[in-house]
Amino acid sequence: MVATEFDNDSNLERILAEHAGMDGALLPILHAVQDSVGYISPAHVALIARALNLSRAEVHGVVSFYHYFRQHEPGRHVVHVCRAEACQAMHCEQTAQHARRALGVDYGGTSADGLFTLKAAYCLGNCAAGPTVMVDEKLYGRVTPERLASILEDWRNR
């Protein structure tokens, strides 16, 4: 039995209740937790495991398998830079390099001011207008390093 500060988390209780009886509920639950809390902590894993009658190792194994699920608190905004072939054909590595330099982090890192988490994406489906960047759910096409600088500036001021 793992006692944690999340035991009384009504949010998580609600999420688990909403998914009770659903076939293959684990991914939908993990999405809901990450959408609501921002990441999936070991304490969440323990509670989800108990609710689904799985071991913590099984739930952790799923969380850590998928690139999208985070185990640490992210920055206020998540910046995805696509580095798949179609964007490479439009020189996305220059855009990606600018992102790493401007935010002072590598892929997976969060900028020191806590505003941005940088992630590499492998295709965002905007392949006819690359390089492509996505900030939260907002998509941008033809993102040169200069344009990325102004996009980041825009999000900084939101």
Binding site: A25, F65, A84, A128, L139
Partner: protein, 513 residues
């Protein structure tokens, strides 16, 4: 009367500022005192012209302007946009533009035309006609129709859809499933996304027909999480279809049930592989399953399951509506019907072109694509995603046909074409193919899991000029092991881009850096 305006809600249009253009149109109309009705539609596929604004003229024709950024709007409105006045950005009717007029749009006929989440709009443009016909047929008759159409899996494997369906039909089970694989992870592909955002009811209709055909009462759309816009459109469309009795316990009063749900993936390329996707849907790590059993016999939750790609299912309504022969009349050889082709990467006019099989790469790259965006010569194209071969200019006359591509060691795959100009370093692209495989391997089989990492290391040594000949031999050997020893296409096909780069562009591997 209010001016009727159409503007895309497609993610690619949004990425180029469609939402800002929409807001600017409202502001400019208010300032001018004109009332407008703005409908957000799918994209016509001319991505280089997005945001594309279409204005209905007095005779009901839609006149296109593009690309229209928010900054262009005040001047355009001033010049008489709402009265379809002339302007440098005025393009005329989309249907009269050669890029569009030369296409053969079957699956994408409604995309960019209708409000994607309006059942009335859908029905007014021929929607649910296929379903209506299917409701009067037996399951075996529906399967026969799909079989005779010659439709093959558009996700990449090109397996005959009708044979899959027949296998599921023949199973006896209390519960069968229809799963749509919408984990469109290949770089350079976006036709699934465009159909889901531009005509989601078409996919829903295809799944309903599949359910009727094999007696499945539950459907899932497994959607990659990189596609939030498609998720919104699908959920809106499913809700609208449910209200009108197309989805639910009694489909169109037939007494047959079909429940449908969108499930989000979580960033795993391997879920494009159908058995990995099933594991994911069941709430597990997306590790590839051994076969047999086939998913058609023992699929989701151990039950008989139809698994088809978005475009395969989206092509079913028109096959049922117009009949198998009509669809089969398009295409060449054993590749029947049309393929929505995606022109991507370094091209002047990228976007979606739906054509019958048989169109050549050269026609697509130059006639439609307009050559490179950079103005430099095209050097290589990759067809069929990250596992597809790189083709040099000498192979650009190959027709798009499953067998013709197989014959040159390439694949049509999902119909995505990524073009590179002469600045591309093909040894780097080969390294990237291995790197991608290492990042995305599910880890179940050794040739893929370990082979891809060793592949990156071996290519690095080649690039450094460290024992080049010995390492080139080692790379060929490693590729052979991956190709023949991997459990699924990820490890098994990563050698395609690597070996084709090596074969057609050897100089990139041997020059000193």
């Amino acid at each position: 009367m209010a001016a009727r305006i159409y503007l895309s809600r497609d993610a690619a249009a949004q990425a180029l500022g469609a939402d800002e253009t929409a807001a600017a149109l409202q502001v400019a109309a208010a300032a001018k005192g004109t009332s407008i009705t703005l409908t957000r539609v799918g994209s016509r596929g001319m991505v280089w012209l997005e945001p594309l604004v279409e204005v209905e003229d007095a005779s009901g024709q839609r006149i296109a302007y593009g690309p229209v950024t928010a900054g262009d709007v005040p001047g355009l409105v001033q010049a008489g946009l709402f009265d379809t006045a002339s302007h440098p950005l005025r393009l005329g009717r989309v249907e009269d533009m050669p890029w569009f007029a030369q296409q053969q749009r079957l699956t994408f006929a409604r995309v960019g035309v209708i409000d994607p989440v309006s059942v009335d709009d859908y029905v007014a443009h021929g929607g649910f006609a296929g379903l209506k016909r299917a409701l009067g047929m037996s399951g075996a008759e529906i399967v026969q129709e799909v079989l005779e159409s010659g439709l093959r899996g558009r996700g990449g494997a090109a397996f005959p859809t009708g044979i899959k369906w027949r296998t599921v039909l023949e199973q006896h089970s209390l519960q069968k499933y229809v799963v749509c694989n919408a984990d469109e992870g290949d770089s350079g592909t976006f036709s699934d996304r465009m159909l889901m955002e531009g005509d989601p009811l078409c996919l829903i209709e295809g799944m309903l027909i599949a359910g009727l055909a094999v007696g499945a009462t539950r459907g899932y759309i497994y959607l990659r999480c990189e596609y939030p816009h498609a998720g919104h459109a699908l959920r809106e469309a499913i809700a609208a279809a449910r209200v009108r009795g197309y989805v639910g316990p009694d489909v169109c009063g037939s007494g047959k049930a079909f429940e449908l749900e969108v499930r989000m993936g979580a960033g795993a390329y391997i879920c494009g592989e159908e058995t990995a996707m099933l594991e994911s849907l069941e709430g597990k790590r997306a590790e590839v399953r051994y076969r047999p059993p086939l998913p058609a016999i023992k699929g989701l939750f151990g039950q008989p399951t139809i698994i088809n790609n978005v475009i395969s299912l989206g092509s079913v309504p028109i096959i049922l509506e117009r009949g198998a022969a009509c669809y089969r009349d398009f295409g060449m050889g054993r590749s029947r019907g049309t393929l929505p082709i995606q022109l991507a990467g370094n091209l002047q006019r990228g976007g979606l072109v739906e054509m019958a099989f048989g169109v050549t790469l050269r026609e697509l790259l130059y006639d439609f694509g307009g050559g490179s965006a950079s103005g430099r010569p095209l050097r290589a194209v990759q067809v069929g995603g990250p596992l597809g071969a790189y083709l040099p200019e000498s192979q650009f006359d190959t027709p798009l046909d499953y067998e013709a591509f197989t014959a040159i060691g390439a694949l049509v795959g999902h119909g995505g074409i990524v073009a590179f100009d002469d600045t591309v370093d093909m040894a780097r692209m080969a390294r990237y193919a291995m790197e991608f495989c290492a990042v995305e391997s599910c880890g179940k089989c050794t040739p893929c899991r370990i082979g891809s990492t060793r592949g990156v290391e071996v290519i690095d040594r080649i690039l450094q000029g460290n024992g080049r000949q010995a390492n080139l031999a080692r790379l060929a050997d490693l590729c052979e092991t991956m190709q023949h020893g991997s459990l699924c296409g990820l490890g098994g096909m990563t050698p395609f881009p690597v070996l084709s780069a090596l074969k057609h562009f050897p100089a990139d591997f041997s020059r000193d850096r």
